[in-house]
Symmetry: C3
Subunit: 263 residues, 3 copies
């Protein structure tokens, strides 16, 4: 028996919107303390990791560890039925082949039940090693989204360069190029000011596929801020915090390009 | 001679938007008291009935009963020219082959004449029998629109079930399904509160094609509320009231399906 | 060396949006006093003339007359990177093969460099003869845009008729037609009132391709008002003033049609 109630269906809508172009099959792992999800994208290049701690829920009950496999397309369809302010109850009875979502608009005594067929998913839980990163950049998530969208006009690749003196995002193509320059970090005090904050232990120069970053950047609706953790030759970790009781993280390996060091 | 002036062209725009995907040819019947229109959709499944009483008009003059046949595509084009706040004069001279719409923005001394060619339409006026319905449901028109849109994700058919205890709208498909449940009716006092109101004399369980309901639901811009009148084995009547001086009604026969009674 | 700084990148964005569907290659002429541009559309029917006087710039320095040729597609891409409130520095070093745009958001210490490759453009500067026009019509640019869009539903051609008594815009097609009538001119006092202003020395009746007028009308975002200068058998001049320190003008020759005088 698994039963959990989110105060607003909008949270789940935003999560599903953020991952639906990356992940086809979502194997949710439900334990006593949290719902979580780990999945590679269809081309096995990017990793998505979601954690929703029970603190996010109005009610949370999970008798034993269970795995609920759902097609993201079916989940998207179900959540389209919910109004943002509806509460969202999720119910799964052991041995059942469906999960039941109930969206309730309490003001108007209206409730909508949506059943979604479950599916078997080969859920290989990947161990994500604890990584020390050379640099951490925290910025408004809308600005990260705009940066990825802008640079995608010039190239398939983005070069992120971080030194103690500044952070740049750069893309260069045949007809021109663009470089975004941040010369100074916000202090810890004004992290919420819309400014960028960065801390660089060792200089980093890494190249990524912009296509994937553009996918990740859709999670901007989940959180005002995004945290990029980078290190030479190591996957970037891009984290959107979820109301301090969970996160949506994306991992992507850097591109190894001959010309990377020339930039 | 027919001459009539609507205070706002927006009313006609909304009506035409609501029917333009259903009806190709619009045979308007103009009498001393009202303009009306009755037309089957192209596949002869649904019936559209419109009535605009002369109380809706600032000026209304109709010397004798006349029939004005207009292509809905041409009418749509004409009305696109009107600003919502423009007044709308409609003029037809007996024996003419065009109807003239004049949109006037009085504040700015701007007037726009649009002529639309008439067409011959085989206007078989269908007698719509007076029907006693077993159940009447009145709900916000935006909510009816959302319900039809949601359920269309799961199936081609919608089952409406009404009993004294509640009303449900239901659709079931291969990957899941959705059921909307309304457990209590608003009282007559708070009909305008955004709540659903229902009155059920006899239990009803009827199935309809969602595709058509989705078409009808576009009339939501005409009125905040919609009234569904249902009865087993009888066409549903879906009515949008027009400023208490007219209506736009849709009729659709139920689907006869083997599995209908199984739901 | 050419260096100039606009207080807001939005001005350049609007200009490029207005011409990008007409002009592929933009040969900018920079002199001590202004940046200007003259280009025919791809089919050599319409002429675009832009003038940005140095008064529009926060800083403007041009050592000698230079020509900067830019692909409008590349310029569009560069400007998409700018936020509307960013300042926009334009820099060109003599003998360089790129122009550098720097967009700065000073509040957030964020700057974005975009380089655009230059191109050789055969810039034949056309002499535009000083023309006395028979009639001048000044109207809200949004209304001119709507008029062109409306009439395009009925025909490829628009007939503009101006007499001392009024101005009409007319299009006629197979299924109907539309005529916009302005019976009185605003007085000079209320030119900004959203009304049309016209001054007619000699009656004019001219026909133009609506397709081109629709392109020109996109410049509505540059200025609230547009000025049409017309004369029989002479190209129309359509001018959008830019903050009283420049303009964007379009010229288009009238259509010579047998039936023109019949309308």
């Amino acid at each position: 028996m698994f039963e959990a109630k989110l105060p607003n269906a909008s949270l789940l809508k935003k999560i599903v919107d953020a991952i639906k172009d990356l992940v086809n099959d979502a194997p949710f792992d439900c334990t006593e303390n949290s719902m979580s999800l780990q999945a590679m994208d269809a081309s096995h290049v990017a990793l998505v990791a979601l954690k929703l701690e029970n603190g996010l829920f109005d009610m949370y009950r999970c008798d034993r560890t269970i795995n609920i496999g759902i097609s993201v397309a079916n989940l998207t369809r179900a959540l389209k039925c919910a109004n943002n302010d509806d509460s969202c109850m999720i119910r799964y009875n052991d041995e059942g082949d469906t999960v039941l979502f109930t969206f309730v608009d309490e003001k108007r005594d209206r409730s909508q039940d949506v059943t979604v067929k479950l599916m078997d998913i080969d859920a290989e839980q990947l161990g994500i090693p604890d990584q020390k990163y050379s640099a951490v950049i925290e910025m408004p998530s809308s600005e990260f989204q705009k940066t990825c969208r802008d640079l995608a006009m010039f190239s398939d690749s983005i070069v992120i360069n971080a030194t103690k003196g500044g952070v740049t995002f750069k893309a260069t193509g045949d007809t021109g190029g663009s470089t975004l320059v941040y010369n100074s970090s916000a202090s810890a005090d004004d992290e919420d000011s819309g400014k960028i904050f960065f801390e660089v232990k060792e200089a980093v120069n890494v190249t990524f596929s912009i296509k994937y970053l553009n996918h990740f950047a859709k999670a901007a609706s989940l959180s005002n801020r995004v945290r990029l953790s980078i290190c030479n030759d190591v996957p970037i970790a891009i984290e959107y915090s979820i109301e301090d009781n969970g996160y949506l993280r994306f991992y992507l390996a850097p591109k190894i390009e001959d010309d990377q060091n020339m930039d």
